[in-house]
Amino acid sequence: MIKTDVIIIGGGATGCGIARDLALRGITHCLIEKGDFAAGATGACHGLLHSGGRYVVSDPIAAKECLDENLILRKIGEKCVEQTGGLFVRLPGDSKRFRDLFLRQCDDVGVPTEVISSSKALELVPNLNPEIEEAIKVPDCSIDPFRLCMLNMTTSLAKDNLVFTGHRVTEFIQSRGRCVGVKATDAATGEVREIYGNIIVNATGAWANLVAALAGTEVPITLSKGSLVITNHRLTNMVINRLRPPSDGDIIVPNEAVCVAGTTSLAAQSPEKINIEASEVDTIIGEAGRMIPHFQNTRIIRAFSGVRPLLKSQKTDSREISRGFQIIDHENGMYSIVGGKLTTFRLMAEKMVDIIMKSFNLRRECETAHKPLDGQEELSGYPLAKRLIDMKNIVCECELVSRQAVERVIKQTGTRHVGDIQHRTRLGMGPCQGGFCTFRALGIMQDLSVLSPEQSMQALHDFLQRRFRGIRYALWGDQLREEQLVEYIYLGILAMEKQP
């Protein structure tokens, strides 16, 4: 049995942000996540740190929040934010009136803008469609959601708070009508842990209503699916937005060596088992291709989909529903925090923890807006300079990751999840999507005795199925060719079976 002050359910940006805020304010807590960090909508988004520009017209309040948080995150999270800057580009036929409204609203909200000619824009981003009318420069940035979550957890872990990833909350422990704890089941072993806390925070995003139901209550959200695609090239060094009311496929974000483009917005029934339609992929490629023509011929290495939890309203088009967030007091010891955006996760956490402090009758100001994220030095990625030094014994040829780098992560973190190595080194993020190197990384984990041979067989099996879920929607051209090769290797040469 474990006792703590606050139980956080959900290891997305919101949950991890709450953990950091609690840690800085000296409140003990325990975070429970059913999969891995950033496994839900947090990890399945553009990785765009909004300047606010996208929302100035439709939702100025949300836009202002984005702008403020953008400034804060650039300061506290130097190592997981890339200050790319962004452009809103106006294509022939896009409304000039919207452009004027956009600029006026940016001024009102305070989003700094600079109108630049198409030739100046082409200088900044040579791959842009040369036919654009003009572009407006804004301070958009690119952010790594995985790293963001892990950096937030660093503070929490340094103060010995407990974290259970791979644990699903299966039951609320109730006493006199109040939730006093949860039972969480370890997905790997089936072991059930009882965790008691004074307050429970449901920060499970699209799963919020399902979790609330376990506690006999509900959270009024609708679900909206957004799909995105990843290219194998960095086609732009700046975030590219379409200067028009938010629609499908109008954002392209550079991230390390690749670009992420999206999204679509379709109503979803469930946060799990979401499929991507071929037509969604075609729409994104078509629309992104209007801003960057090269997009049409570039190799797409993967498509993925996230489910946004949106606050329920009467409107039916989910893009119109407010992206503002809400904290619901279920008046049974549990709060649910829903809605919001990756960009505003810190603000959401602050508001949540303010409420928690008040209910504990404690006073301590929030520090998350000023203190740089802990652990940025160790988690500062695996820069090219380091990769070149490690060039001997490359295990991931696509992203130049060496055996030494893999061993370093295993030794530093003691991790048993190949995903942790991937997030920290970019192993498996290139065109073959881990087809060759995961077999090797899991072999190295056996060599270092962090996994038993049986566990790594199972892990390899699970990885291949998970990987396929993403690339299945991007299979044509060279990516299909590569995929067939990987399939011949595992199912032909290695005669891998359906079950290990």
């Binding site: 041979p453 879920r469 299909l480 032909g492 040469i493 005669a495």
Partner: protein, 398 residues
């Protein structure tokens, strides 16, 4: 119009193209192969899978779906093709063992067993069940081979590690071709206490001389030795390709290496030449007949776009298994992905159907409805359809 005219030009230097080429060249035809580079055979295990399943390969073939191109080939011809193959590789110094009447199981680098038919002699002694007592020798830092995967299934296995100074499959294989290296290695191996009755190696025992090298080790240690195929680059696959390539050349065949076909010249119902982009200027190569053996997607014979699937040399009609969203199933481990059926449909003379050309024949992985993964028929299908297409082509030329 070029000055040289061949009887047959084959597009693709994989197992299908080389088999067809050698067969025609041995009958005295002037044959050239045009290729963009190394074939997918180099990525394969080097084994000849004929048809997996519960019964014998020939019986399994009888039970394949009625669309399968194997049904165009008489069982006697399959037998004859494998005999020809065995004789050719024996002549070239890498004997194969096995027969079309029997499948065999060989140990893989994951500790599973792969069903196949003919195997290089270096895999003859392969473990074929989880009870076998084997000792695995691997090499320090070798990134494509981890004995612990095997030990997770073969509980009676153990392993030891040798430092070969390099960590890649090809690097170690090259070392084994050196007399001194081999001697030092055998000396090291002799000092290890091994209680198991077989010794297994990842397939790195020499770039070309694996048969002799494994025999030498076997002789010194007095117990059977076998190789376990690795993920690409695969030495047994390369050895096989090199031998068949040399066999083709030995029979006076000519290979245009790195000459991608960029167009064709045609007249009426005949293809007259393929245009290739060589260094400097395009070149036309004329022939009386053409055999397309350019492989499936991996080999580059088929190209998928978002909307369709194309064959780009002759622009032949491609059998497309539905719209893009139906090409793959959700389950990765399903071997029933529809994409495996994509390819060129042929008639019993291995001419493409629904197409004008009278002097074009098709063989190998580019054929439709082969479902190579599901049926376990990769290299065997290449050999047999290569031979069959060559026979039809020879009849046409006469």
């Amino acid at each position: 119009m070029s000055l040289i005219e061949y009887d047959v030009i084959i597009i693709g230097a994989g197992l299908a193209g080389l088999t067809a080429g050698s067969s025609l060249a041995r009958q005295g035809f002037r044959v050239a192969i045009v290729t963009t580079g190394e074939p997918t055979a180099c990525l394969s295990t080097g084994c000849v899978d004929l048809c997996s399943g519960l019964a014998s390969p020939l019986e399994n073939i009888r039970q394949l779906s009625s669309y399968h191109p194997f049904h165009f080939i008489d069982p006697e011809l399959i037998r004859q093709t494998l005999n020809n193959f065995s004789e050719a590789v024996k002549e070239m110094g890498i004997p194969y063992v096995g027969s079309p009447d029997e499948n065999r199981r060989i140990l893989t680098a994951l500790g599973t067993f792969k069903t196949t038919c003919l195997v290089p002699v270096t895999m003859q002694a392969s473990a074929n069940n989880v009870q076998e007592k084997i000792h695995i020798v691997t090499f320090r830092g070798l990134k494509d081979f981890y004995p612990s995967y095997i030990i997770s299934r073969l509980k009676n296995a153990s392993f030891s590690v040798y430092d070969a100074g390099v960590s890649t499959t090809m690097g170690i294989a090259a070392n084994f071709e050196q007399e001194d290296f081999l001697e030092a290695f055998i000396c090291w191996l002799g000092n290890i206490e091994i209680s198991e009755n077989k010794i297994a190696f990842p397939a790195v025992l020499g770039s070309e001389s694996a048969a002799e090298i494994s025999k030498k080790i076997e002789h010194q240690l007095g117990r059977p030795v076998f190789e376990i195929p690795t993920i690409p680059p695969s030495m047994p696959g390369r050895r096989l390709f090199n031998r068949l390539k040399n066999y083709f050349r030995k029979n006076k065949g000519f290979i245009y290496w790195n000459w991608p076909v960029v167009g064709v010249e045609k007249s009426g119902k005949l293809i007259e030449a393929v245009v290739t982009s060589s260094v400097g200027r395009p070149n036309s190569l004329n022939a009386k007949a053409f055999i397309l053996a350019s492989g499936s997607f991996v080999g580059g014979g088929l190209v998928a776009t978002r909307d369709t699937i194309l064959e780009k040399v002759f622009n032949l009609p491609v059998h497309i298994p539905g719209r893009r969203e139906f090409w793959f199933e959700q389950n990765y481990f399903s071997v029933n992905h529809n994409i495996e059926k994509a390819g060129i449909e042929v008639d019993s003379s291995f001419r493409p159907v629904n197409c004008l050309w009278e002097n074009v024949f098709v063989c190998g992985g580019i054929l439709a409805n082969t479902e190579i993964l599901k049926n376990g028929c990769g290299n065997g299908l290449a050999l047999c359809t290569g031979e069959a297409a060559a026979i039809s082509c020879a009849e046409y030329l006469r």
